[in-house]
């Protein structure tokens, strides 16, 4: 009956939920601070000062009150969303509660002064003499490690919470919300934002025409994989991980197990990249922040891991710069990563259509089975519509706005962006939970992993770095005025 209803895709759901938070945040423009109670976490040495509502108007709610309100609101909205997904609602509510509380606890732990403080002045302020300098977003890494522990050492718990282990849903919702924040950031330096967007086009060429061709060749020629395995593998490694592998698998009519195995592999390697590349970027690319941002978008696969690594990279590089007295504006590095990733995503449907055409016309010719142009739209990642919408709406409102309106827009987007942070931390935790290294190994994917390792560390990372330098080298984010 009800269960027969066609479920809404996570893609569309992330658009609606992202827009809901975005629209509610705009209440600030008409004097209604609707989301001011959402909890925010500061760097702390005294736990009682870690949490607070984002808006001073809700100061009386207190930190714990804000956290509980945030949990209840997200539980209500996402559980309602789970109905649209045809998920097991009771199970989802329970699982989501576990995901939320572990994720948020990780964020609080990661914001501990000895982990997070980045500048000597702040070390003095908190009365500490050492710090890991992970920034307050080091909590994301803590969440990822917690997720890996659950996914690999606590299989019973991982199984119990799997209904809410949906990193793609969380990150896509975060990206829709992020659009507004990047809109207000871009409005301040429109020419720089335009130049960055144009440079983002390079990512499409690199991912689809260069990476894909080389990975496919390596898989087919050197590793002797069949076409059925090589095409989804090439898409998974070159384009955008999970969704690209699935779209390609479907385009070439591969058995469902093929893209699923490739997608699992992509998630595991994304975690490895997520743990290494942002720190490598901080170490070697602190003087080239935008190169670092673009590199994350080009080298790290899956939307979740790529945008998440952009967030970590931004925090780490801004912290390094701040320690030297340079204060870059927030949002530009993460914005570059997101632009690169979104541009790549846009073409998944077109690429899948091209592959479907070649396969059905030349390789796997079957009577009456032809590629349909409508598949381009079917495979278009819909969350991009939400991202573009929030970006353009805020950009248009901010261009030529009075200082008062700009301040209100900034405040509204700061509130919405707080939810973005919470969706981010849940993404990190759930990516970790999904990364079951042992199970993948048992499935016998060593040969697939060998292709991935060779391609990723053999050229994907390095070509990505070179192209990031060519297009983004020398470009600096604006300084905080």
């Amino acid at each position: 009956m009800e269960q027969n209803r066609k479920p809404l895709s996570e893609d569309w759901l992330s658009v609606w939920i992202g827009l809901l938070f975005f629209l509610l945040s705009l209440g600030v423009l008409v004097g209604a601070d609707i989301l001011g109670w959402v909890v925010t976490t500061s760097v702390w040495s005294d736990i009682s000062k870690a949490l607070a509502p984002v808006s001073k108007a809700y100061a009386s709610v207190g930190g714990i009150g804000a956290l509980i309100l945030t949990y209840v609101a997200l539980l209500a909205v996402l559980t309602a969303g789970s109905v649209a997904l045809n998920a097991d609602v009771k199970r989802f509510a329970g699982s989501f509660s576990v995901v939320f509380w572990i994720s948020y606890l990780c964020w609080i732990v990661g914001s501990y002064a000895n982990f997070a403080v980045t500048t000597p002045a702040d070390m003095q302020k908190f009365g500490i003499n050492w710090s890991l300098r992970l920034t307050n977003e080091g909590g994301f890494i803590v969440a990822l490690i917690a997720g890996l522990i659950v996914g690999n050492l606590l299989p019973g718990l991982a199984e119990w919470i799997k209904e809410a282990v949906r990193p793609e849903w969380y990150i896509k919702t975060a990206i829709v919300i992020l659009g507004g924040f990047l809109g207000i950031t871009a409005a301040e330096k429109l020419s720089l934002a335009t130049a960055l967007m144009f440079r983002g086009l390079a990512a499409i060429i690199e991912a689809y025409l260069i990476y894909w061709a080389v990975v496919y060749f390596v898989a087919r020629k050197w590793f002797k994989f069949s076409r059925e395995w090589s095409a989804p593998l090439a898409s998974g490694i070159s384009i955008c991980g999970v969704s690209a592998a699935i779209a390609t698998g479907s385009a070439i009519r591969a058995r469902p197990v093929v893209p699923i195995m490739v997608a699992s592999l992509v998630v595991v390697f994304s975690v490895v990249e997520l743990l290494i590349l942002p720190f490598a970027a901080q170490m070697f690319l602190s003087h080239e922040p935008m190169v670092a941002g673009a590199w994350m978008g080009l080298a790290v696969k899956t939307d979740g891991a790529a945008v998440a690594s952009g967030g970590i990279t931004e925090s780490l590089i801004l912290a390094s710069a701040a320690a030297q007295g340079i204060n870059f504006q927030k949002g530009w590095i993460l914005g570059t990563t997101t632009t690169v990733k979104v541009f790549i995503d846009v073409f998944i449907g077109i690429w899948a259509f091209i592959l479907a055409y070649i396969w059905t016309t030349y390789i796997d010719v079957r009577q009456g089975q032809k590629a349909r142009a409508s598949e381009i739209w079917e495979r278009f990642p819909k969350f991009i519509i939400g991202y573009v919408l929030t970006f353009v709406v805020i950009l248009v409102m901010a261009l030529g706005a009075t200082p008062e309106l700009t301040a209100k827009l900034r405040s509204a987007m700061a509130e919405a962006n707080t939810f973005r942070g919470i969706f981010f931390v849940m993404t990190f935790f759930t990516i970790g939970v999904m990364s079951n290294f042992k199970r993948l190994w048992e499935e016998g994917i060593a040969k697939l992993a060998a292709v991935y390792l060779l391609c990723l560390f053999g050229f994907v990372i390095w070509i990505g770095l070179v192209i990031s330098f060519i297009f983004f080298g020398g470009v600096q984010p604006p300084l905080v005025s």
């Binding site: 440079r199 390079a202 060429i205 690199e206 025409l209 030349y362």
Partner: protein, 51 residues
């Protein structure tokens, strides 16, 4: 009931499929078009959209 495929065994016994002409064309043209478009993009981005 549909049996779960044994991936380990499948990896070991995968039959060799030689590269077809259309696959070679796909790889070759992707790379050629990719490099040419990249050069055009570098020119346009530095000429018309300096950051």
């Amino acid at each position: 009931m549909e049996q779960k495929p044994n991936i380990r065994q499948e990896m070991q016994t995968m039959p060799h499929e030689p590269l077809l002409a259309i696959e070679k064309r796909l790889i070759g043209w992707s790379l050629i078009v990719g490099v040419v478009l990249m050069v055009i993009l570098i020119f346009f981005s530095h000429t018309y959209f300096p950051a």
